[in-house]
Amino acid sequence: MRKSILLVVAVLLGLFVARPGFSQAKLKVLFMPGVADPFYYTMEKGIKAKCAEMGVDLTVAEYPKAWGPENQVPILQASVARQKYDLLLIAPTSTDALKAPLKAIYDKGTEIITVDTFIGDGDYSKKSDYSFPLSYIGSDNELGGKLMAEHLAKMVGEKGKVFCEATNPDASSVQGRVKGFKAGIAQYPNMQVVGVEWCQDVQQKAQEQTLAALQKNKDIVGIFGTNVFSAQGSYQAVVNAGLTGAVKICSWDATQELIGALKKGQVDLVLAQKPGEMGSLAVDWGVKYLKDKKNVKVPKKVLPGFEFFTRDNVNDPAMQQYIYQ
């Protein structure tokens, strides 16, 4: 009798102890966005869908109100202090300032994937003090800028002055786009970048700066706005200057507003990053790795590429998935 009770207890205990080995507790994923804007909201949707599909728990940290480590790090640290996560998906808002906080989180046993932006130079394949993240999943901004320049050049017949309305001079992604754009335009001997302005994500400022540029160089034929706010501001400046149609505008990020403007003929070319896909890929790789650390080899860099919207393909059903919403 006594023996059999002991046996039952032993079996039950064994079951309990063995349980985690059979079916693990749900993996916990934390998403730390860079700033409150449509791009990261769209990324969150991709992450959410993939997490539901793979059956993992997702927590979305508070969206920082403004770009920068001083806003992001406190939110990040508060989130990880509340609970331990298996996987952190983060868009670091500084290439340097996020190294130490992320290392501390990594050392406590959380795997990290940086999405959209990166730490260090974004190359985690060689050994360095910032090579601990599993992977960087984002856009090659420099390549995007270059492709943008080439598309714009084709539109304006490969000659004339162009202008660039950028946002924050201290963000790696924006610098990359501007650099790529300049390099792209430099391939055409009859084209010239006449100026780069920084609007700090304020649409009104972008509008003022673009109007000033159009005033200074009356023969500008094309403008590149590096994100939502700068593109929207520059197209409004072109409308203000009464130059709709005479100045081609290309812009980065397929927000509904910009897609609407493209349909109306106020904007001529829109580059879509794939934030939803970035998020989805990050969850996919991260969870696969956590479930089978020995056999899954995560690529250190995943670049989902771009899509270009023009008036010809904007109503194409296959393109609709790339509009941010």
Binding site: D37, K65, Q200, Q204, L211, A212, K216, Q236, K264
Partner: protein
């Protein structure tokens, strides 16, 4: 500012000479110069940039600058009233963003229900203006009933207004509004093709895109609008009882109470007025951009409004300031940005220039306290 003011300055110079007797600034022209240094500085800016910047000196450029300063002008006017009472209103930038989002959201609903565009626009604009009275009322009551310093009370509203706006729009600019909005907001009274035609309100139908560079567009709609609003505000401040009470409260709260002014009530009105003007700025922004824009943190509208008011001769300790001065302050900041950009100065130097200018403004205020 104007000839009459300069004359008044000259008249008083003999008595005011006690502290720095015999210096240049106690002479008639000297006083006029120091008193209106911001306006003089604006003239200097215009002259210098006309020489250094290609196409700076042109009707088109000046029209553009003034048109785009409509929102900052409204905010600076709002801030002028508050600062004269010795207070400060940090919430105006985000109240403007909130009004913008609310107006756009209010327009979306009836638009999808098939209302005529005119009614949709009036409905959205009126609704947003009405709502923009609320933050001011709350600010005013918190400041007067609970004696919370204006800085803190309006800082609280700063966060609340922004939070509500972001919640309403979910972080996306509100799009899909009537096309008529930006056409009205960015329209001109006159369209002229030299030697060919003059057209009112819109360019002639079918005018080819290729020739738009030859078209002259004169008097943006925003110009009469802002002139009327500022004119009324300046009149109210200088001539009416409302204005007298405003200066009295800023000059000395105790004296105002003893003079029988209902200070609490007046302050509530001031904050409601400030918030209503911010709401007007937000609604104007919808007309200008055609979308409901929340205010981003990096825009710092409230701080630039304060800077403009201070450059325009107001004192943060209250009792001093004029609408005309604040207008000059806004224009100084705007033309400095525009002129430096057109002259090809690297953007980062402009931040430095604005900072230096602001400090100079306050130093002048401290050096010559009895000038204004």
């Amino acid at each position: 500012m104007n000839a009459a003011d300069a004359g008044a300055g000259a008249e008083f110079s003999p008595q005011a000479g006690r502290a720095r007797a015999g210096t240049f600034f106690t002479s008639g022209p000297g006083r006029a110069l120091a008193r209106n240094w911001a306006a003089c500085f604006l003239v200097v800016l215009l002259v210098v940039f006309s020489l250094t910047g290609t196409n700076f000196l042109s009707v088109v450029n000046f029209q553009n600058v003034v048109h785009l300063q409509t929102l900052p002008l409204l905010l600076a006017a709002a801030q002028t009233f508050v600062i004269i009472t010795g207070g400060i209103d940090l919430s105006i930038g985000f109240v403007a963003g909130l009004a913008s989002v609310v107006a756009a959201k209010l327009m979306q609903l009836p638009l999808s229900a098939g209302w005529p565009v005119g009614e949709v626009i009036v409905f959205g604009a009126a609704g947003a203006l009405l709502l923009s009275l609320v933050p001011g009322l709350v600010n005013g009551l918190v400041i007067t009933r609970f004696k919370v310093p204006p800085f803190i009370a309006t800082l609280g509203m700063w966060g609340i207004a922004n939070g509500v706006a972001l919640k309403l729009c979910q972080g996306f600019p509100v799009a899909g509004l009537p096309d008529a909005l930006p056409r009205i907001g960015n329209g001109y009274l006159l369209y002229v093709l030299p030697g060919s035609f003059v057209s009112f309100f819109d360019k002639p139908a079918g005018f080819p895109d290729a020739r738009v560079r030859e078209l002259w567009r004169l008097v943006p709609f925003s110009l009469p609008f802002i002139l009327v609003v500022l004119g009324v505000l300046a009149f109210v401040l200088r001539r009416g009882r409302f204005g007298r009470h405003t200066y009295a409260i800023g000059g000395s709260m105790d004296a105002a109470v003893r003079a029988g002014i209902d200070v609490d009530r007046h302050l509530v009105r001031i904050y409601v007025l400030s918030s209503a003007l911010a709401g007007l700025a937000g609604v104007f922004n919808v007309f200008q951009t055609g979308i409901g824009n929340y205010t981003t943190f990096s825009s710092m509208y409230e701080l630039f409004a304060i800077a403009a008011v201070v450059i325009g001769g107001a004192s943060l300790s209250g009792g001093k300031g004029r609408i005309q001065g604040s207008v000059v302050g806004v224009l100084v900041l705007a033309f400095m940005e525009n002129g430096l950009a057109i002259s090809g100065v690297e953007p980062f130097y402009r931040y430095i220039a604005v900072g230096v200018l602001l400090v100079i403004a306050v130093v002048i205020d401290k050096l010559f306290p009895d000038l204004f």
